[in-house]
């Protein structure tokens, strides 16, 4: 280890994640019996021993095919899924920002901003101070009174991004949230991520857009079938990944 590397902020140590799912169809029908308790349960081994160290000032792109375990990795780094084996260490609680992170659809954008902020640990006064900034960044002033279920997917992901970014995070995990925004918003949020990295934060970015990975990241991790296939310089890893397709 050389000294010019930043201080470690996230350490992932031999991480295994397993999902239990209920199957139907052929596999389930074969061993269907009321008496066996594990009827139709299939264990999906989503991550198989992933290890790495992330440091201050790094912005790490995470790439891989659909279903390779990228989102699972993000969720477990943020502590939302308990590992079956192995551990995740971090200097502060990582904040996850994902496309599926629906808040409460039947409530207005305004109330979701409030709830999201409160859940992130802000006080009502802090949220009040930042409210205009959050809504302004998401560019949603006109629609903030509408229920979120009436938002387009781009609009709601913009709002979620703004809520998550309103708090100063040391470690931020962005799961394809930028892909849904329009071009202008994408540029704005990529600038925000770069600014955060310069403030010695650590950012993980899951994306299928190699351009956005190359534009924002200074390190790339390639996850393939639950295993860490490659880890290193963005250009090299992206080139190897593109070739493999």
């Amino acid at each position: 280890m050389t000294d010019d590397l930043g201080k470690p902020t996230v350490v992932v140590d031999n991480l295994h994640i397993k999902y239990k799912t209920f199957t139907s169809g052929k596999t389930a029908a074969q061993n269907r019996s009321l008496l066996t308790r594990q009827r139709g349960i299939k264990v999906v081994h989503a991550l198989k021993g992933v290890s790495f160290v992330a440091r201050e000032g790094e912005s790490i792109g995470v790439i891989g095919h659909n279903g390779s375990g990228k989102s699972t990795l993000m969720r477990s780094i943020s502590g939302l899924i308990a590992p079956a084996e192995g551990r995740v260490f971090a200097s502060s609680r990582p904040a996850l920002l994902g496309v599926n992170a629906a808040l409460i659809p039947r409530l207005s954008g305004e109330k979701n901003v409030l709830l999201g902020g409160l859940a992130l640990g802000m006080t009502p006064a802090e949220i009040n101070d930042k409210f205009d900034e959050i809504v302004g960044f998401a560019d949603l002033e006109e629609f903030i009174d509408l229920p979120m279920k009436n938002y387009s997917s781009g609009m709601s992901s913009r709002l979620r991004f703004s809520i998550a970014m309103s708090r100063d995070h040391q470690i931020l995990l962005v799961d394809e949230a930028l892909a849904v925004g329009d071009k202008e918003f994408r540029a704005k949020s990529e600038a925000r991520i770069r600014a955060m990295r310069e403030e010695a934060g650590t950012v993980f970015l899951v994306s299928h857009s190699m351009k956005s990975i190359l534009d924002t990241c200074n390190r790339v991790i390639w996850i393939d079938h639950g295993e860490l296939k490659m880890d290193g310089d963005p250009r090299e890893v992206v080139a190897a990944y593109t070739e493999s397709k």
Binding site: K7, P8, T9, V10, V11, V12, D13, N14, Y19, K20, S51, V53, R75, I77, S78, G79, L80, I81, A82, R87, V88, F89, A90, S91, R93, P94, A95, L96, G98, N100, A101, A102, L103, I104, R106, L107, K111, L114, L115, G116, L118, A119, L120, G121, T123, P124
Partner: protein, 288 residues
């Protein structure tokens, strides 16, 4: 190549394990810090519920009222008069029972769904999970306020006098809220482990409904049975909360002093057990 000792790197950099369950004291302190989340969630959910229905807020009261009318009519006809308590107006007796029972049954049902039903919230944001069942209880307490007002109007309308005893309804309902919170926490964790339990909850609720003496007096119905049956039935805390409120609001009902003791003991014990039981599994919520 020697394998990297990741744990040592983490230790040297002073990193902590993500998602580790904090000690109970720290956990409760964090919840207290974020209490505004639970109360706002309860308020907003209530508002959404109100704005989605044409009759809005009225449904909070209408539902138990219709229930009371239905049960009152059906059981008023099919049950013999000697199942009713002596010297008590039947309508206020049933209405108090149904309203107070509604507070229990909704806390139980909503509490059981509080983690399973908010999966997307649990999977996307990190906060002490106990805030979710707590927010459902807060919502039930908010709904209880208009219910108690209507209840008071009905009871007065049927000729019951207002007395200073009514003030004691507040501590009685606080005890019941503690009991309900404990039940909600137990149910919230159990449904996470065994999803099938959500199917059984209406059945359990029904069992409590019949065992708590909503439209008949347990004391009268069980008068001819073995002594222990009445004793056992009276140890049911839900029955005791209802009887205490009836005692305070209606003439002719007497809750013996020990019912207050059962009510207090059950409230404290259920709440403490519920909190510890729920907290122990904190790392598991959102896992499956």
């Amino acid at each position: 190549m020697t394998p990297t000792d990741y744990e040592a790197i983490a230790r040297d950099a002073g990193l902590e394990r993500v998602g580790a369950r904090p000690p109970l004291g720290a956990y409760l302190a964090e919840m207290w810090q974020r209490r505004a989340f639970a109360t706002s969630l309860a308020m907003f959910r209530l508002q959404a519920q109100v704005s989605e229905n044409r009759l809005g807020l009225a449904w909070i009261v209408l539902r138990p009222l219709l229930n009371a009318a239905l049960y009152g009519t059906i059981f008023g006809i099919i049950l013999p008069r000697d199942t009713r308590p002596d010297g008590v107006a039947f309508v206020p007796f049933v209405v108090v029972g149904v309203f107070i029972f509604e507070f229990f049954s909704k806390s139980f049902a909503e509490g059981a769904r509080s983690i399973v039903g908010n999966a997307s919230l649990v999977r996307s944001l990190a906060f002490p999970r106990m805030l979710l069942p707590v927010s459902h209880i807060v919502q039930q307490v908010l709904e209880l306020i208009p219910m108690m007002l209507i209840l008071a109007i009905i009871v007065i309308g049927f000729g019951q006098p207002i007395t200073w005893w009514w003030l004691l309804i507040i501590p009685a309902l606080i005890l019941m809220t503690m009991f309900n919170l404990g039940i909600a926490l137990l149910a919230a964790r159990l449904t996470v482990h065994v999803r099938d339990l959500t199917q059984v909850i209406p059945l359990v609720t029904r069992l409590f409904f019949y065992a708590s003496g909503i439209f008949y007096s347990l004391e009268e119905v069980l008068a001819d049975q073995a002594d222990w049956m009445l004793k056992a039935a009276q140890l049911n805390p839900v029955h005791d909360y209802i009887t205490i409120v009836r005692d305070l609001m209606l003439e002719g009902i007497n809750a013996p002093g020990w019912m207050w003791m059962v009510a207090t003991g059950a409230a404290v014990a259920t709440m403490v057990v519920g909190i510890v039981f729920f907290w122990l599994a904190e790392e598991r919520y959102g896992h499956d």
